[in-house]
Amino acid sequence: MTISQTDYESSSAKGETIMEIRNASVSFDMERGDSRVLDSVDLDVHRNEVLGVVGESGSGKSMLASALLDAIVDPGVLTGDVTYYPKNETPVDVLDLDKQELKEFRWEQVSMVFQGAMSSFNPVRKISTHFIETLNAHDYNVEEGMERAQQLLRDLYLDPERVLDAYPHELSGGMKQRALIALSLILEPEVLVMDEPTAALDLLMQRSIISLLQQIQERYDLTIVFITHDLPLIADLTDRIAVMYAFEVAELGPTEEMLERPAHPYTRLLLKSTPNLESPIDEMQPVEGSAPDPVNVPTGCSFHPRCPLADDTCKMNDPEAYNVDATHHVHCHHWEESADAIPMTESSTSVESPTDRIDRPTTRATRRSGDQPLVSLDDVEVHFEKEKGFFDFFSDPETVKAVDGISLDIYEQDAVVLVGESGCGKTTLGKAAVGLQRPTGGSINYRGEDIWDVHDSGGSGTLDWGEIRRSLQIVHQDPGSSLNPHRRVKTSLEEPLKRWHDDLDGNDRKQRILGLLDHVGMSPPEDYFERYPHQLSGGEQQRVAIIRAMLMNPDLILADEPVSALDVSLRVEMMDLMIQLQEMFDTSYLFISHDLSNARYIAEKTGGRIGVVYLGELVEIGPPEQILHNPQHPYTQALRWATPELELAAGMGDDQTGGSPIRNIDIPDPTNPPSGCHYHTRCPEAREVCKTDSPASYQASDAESHRAACFRTLEDHEYWNSDSIVDEEESFDG
């Protein structure tokens, strides 16, 4: 929903309160002491608004959600007041309800959608059973209720027959999440509380669900409380946003205000640290420090240890709500100075950066074209056969074409970021590129030699398998499981040095590792040197894993979602570090990411390329400015649409204000991909010819390295004379 002037007027007109939270606290009695995971929160939820609650992990936002339904899990204790104001009836004190009243209150008045849709259904019962038992438990008419369920599922672009008759495991994550939304609305509640409902899903699916929510909210007259860590995601869904920090509400205001004139230093820093597509990359900075422990919250303003404005007042006094204006409240003593102290756009410094950005890639691209590629993938195919039993002599096994004919050249000091939905084959492609997955077709050449020929022949004199293995390294998504938990940091890091630099003695090795640890910001290095992996934070573990890969002195590192396991505020920092290490060690990167804004950050900073993968095919590749601002393939356009923006309506291009650019929310079955262009089942531009012919990779724009696999890039293709297969009725528009 774009917040235009009229919308905002109406939202303030409907500013009647439906839920009121006063002085709500949740405490857990833990061995280390009393732990407060929600600390005296006051909040009003207005009727028919969408209220976004944003916070990092461990900020108490999930507790707030549970508090609205008086559903704090044991042994947490909720105190304070939660009042619900039904239409034209007496207010209800939620915490005072007895068991029966609570049962009627929950789901009939206020219902909830959890983050774990994957596990929110009983695995042994059909989806329809979940609807029926809910209706029965609340003495609703089952027949009417099931009709409503069908309508809800249809509104969420699901096929009611198929979904109701399925067991939970038969549905994809996105379908399950939508079915769960339908289940939460089955008793026609007034308020819907959503706790990170899209966090486990792909960006495109997240975005599709958000646009569905907008429709649902209007159609069913709902009040939605949407809890998330991802501020940009909800920027154009919400009417108001509350930012939580350290178990308290730090700031609350209308969305527009919060994005354009945030008053709390934390909100400002959070907005600056969030990777997105529009703001210049040099302005993205991490929030220094880390979130406080619930047992040991700092006195006074809990943000003061990380706050650039903090003074003695902040250390002593917990700030009350200051009114910025009638609708915008901030818990900060110095909110009036925050805008000057933490400017959202560093206009003074960023003047040269745009030119800088545009210069680098072009210079690199020209230099590259003549060079020999470092690693070259030529028509690589990786097909997995589904499990084949002992007695399957006669039947053809089903194959999943994880990678289906991709060619890609990676040069020295290059960076390629592969982007795509989960299950599209980007990780398999990456593993094939670094020789961890043997392709079933095509070849992978390292400095001109086919690596699997080298592997089979045992080396050809100039190059042996060990050398290739050393040159092609990997950094995994989850650093916790890629470090041996029983080995100290020093043992893990000494290993590659012992193996590849046997001329170094123990002291040299130690000095080198200490130097590197210090360099990546793990100081004092002598302390970290002796630690075990579990004594490190996630970000520190990932740094050790990266250093370990770097010590092999590799030519190419496959970084498989290296930052997605980290908190949002740490991601930019980690990406900066990786880029810096690239220059230091003179290596190339093959990044894998599901997030276009992370991809853009890395590709722009390194002058690399972004490659978009869909169902085993590389549908578009090119420099980031082309991919982001001039995407040629409809799938890239869809991903671009799905990537949330911080700016509101004014900053949006034409494709942003319109509906969703995909016709079908769900990805087709990869064992049986659509014929012709794999994307034609979801493509809004699909025509008859796309069903039968598979497009090759064509030059997509003036930029030399920009290629796309879509007929629309050709001016004289038969596509333009072919009939459209897009049926206006079926199209899904947000």
Partner: protein
């Protein structure tokens, strides 16, 4: 679906397993030192019969030729088994099928009671332990379960025999049915066989220890699951939640271990029936081994193999009915 239905494949695997085990047992049995001839001659000699005369007597009775080459004997045996003939017991001079048929019900009687009682105790105890996780009941029962799990069943059998049968005279020390009572459907006889079966069944209850620990783990996992939380918020009744949500999901993994323990218990019956002189399948199997009674040994092995493999087959084929996620590759998941 292009692949062969997995059920047919699974059935073929079952047949293959039975054949492989039969073949292996056959070869091993024949390779054991001694043969039925030697065993019987030795027995007759001990009774004072002249060795030459004993050899002649035995040769008259012997229905198989122990010196026949293994491959030939094997082919003969397989052909006979396929036509339903398990051969003639050398020692008992009766058809093997007949001996097994009259021993089998007794073993099944003890086994089925042991299984049901121990799993019932295990599941109930496990569920309660999970419900009061960390409490006194949980700690106490966990120690009990570990104790039960670590005692070998035959040691428990001896202890029970010494204290409950010899010292206290509460139970008979051996046998499977009261003497002097006509077999049939009458109260004294039924009471008698239950009385005789009590100690063997009690010894097998060690299995409940492992079962209860398994159930405890499963229940704790289910109690912490998101779908349980959602179900509570949806206001479902306690009955629905405890039966359809907790019990159903926690018992699922127990189903396989239940059918697997059928096999273990068959193996255990060999020793157990010896301890209690309980004339069931295991008792005859051991006797046959002492006597090198090839046909009876093979008959016992084949029967046990078929029983265990069938139990696993049933577990595989029916698991899809209790757990939809295991519906096989034929479910059109999307």
């Amino acid at each position: 679906m292009a692949t062969i239905d997995w059920r047919i494949r699974r059935l073929a695997q079952t047949v293959f397993t039975v054949w492989a085990v039969t073949t292996l047992s056959f070869v091993l049995v024949r390779l054991m030192p001694g043969n039925p001839m030697g065993a019987m001659v030795r027995q007759l000699e001990q009774q004072g019969v002249d060795p030459v005369r004993a050899r002649q007597l035995v040769e008259l009775r012997l229905t198989i030729d122990p010196n026949e080459p293994i491959p030939i004997a094997y082919v003969d045996y397989i052909v006979n088994v396929l036509s339903g003939n398990l051969g003639q017991s050398v020692y008992y001079a009766e058809p093997v099928t007949q001996i097994l048929a009259q021993a089998m019900p007794w073993t099944l009687f003890v086994l089925s009671w042991s299984l049901f009682i121990s799993f019932f105790i295990g599941i109930v105890a496990g569920a309660l332990m999970a419900y009061w996780e960390g409490g006194k009941f949980d700690v106490g029962l966990t120690s009990w379960a570990i104790l039960m799990g670590s005692i070998p069943y035959y040691v428990l059998a001896f202890l029970l025999l010494i204290f409950l049968a010899y010292r206290l005279n509460w139970f008979p020390t051996s046998g499977r049915a009261p003497t002097g009572v006509p077999a049939g459907f009458n109260w004294p006889f039924i009471k008698g066989i239950v009385h005789h079966a009590t100690l063997p069944v009690l010894s097998m209850l060690v299995a409940s220890g492992v079962a209860s620990l398994g159930m405890r783990g499963n229940s704790i996992r289910v109690l912490g699951s998101d779908y349980l939380r959602v179900a509570r918020l949806r206001g479902l009744s306690d009955t629905t939640i405890s039966t359809q949500y907790i019990a159903r999901n926690a018992v699922l993994p127990m189903y396989t271990s239940f059918l697997i323990s059928i096999g273990e218990m068959f193996g255990g019956s060999v020793v157990l029936e010896q301890v209690f002189q309980y004339r069931g399948l295991g008792y005859y199997l051991l006797a046959a081994t002492y006597q090198r009674d090839y046909p009876l040994m093979m008959g016992g092995f084949v029967l046990i193999t078929v029983a265990v493999v069938l139990a696993l087959l049933i577990a595989d084929l029916t698991y899809g009915l209790v757990d939809p996620r295991a519906g096989g590759q034929n479910s059109d998941s999307y």
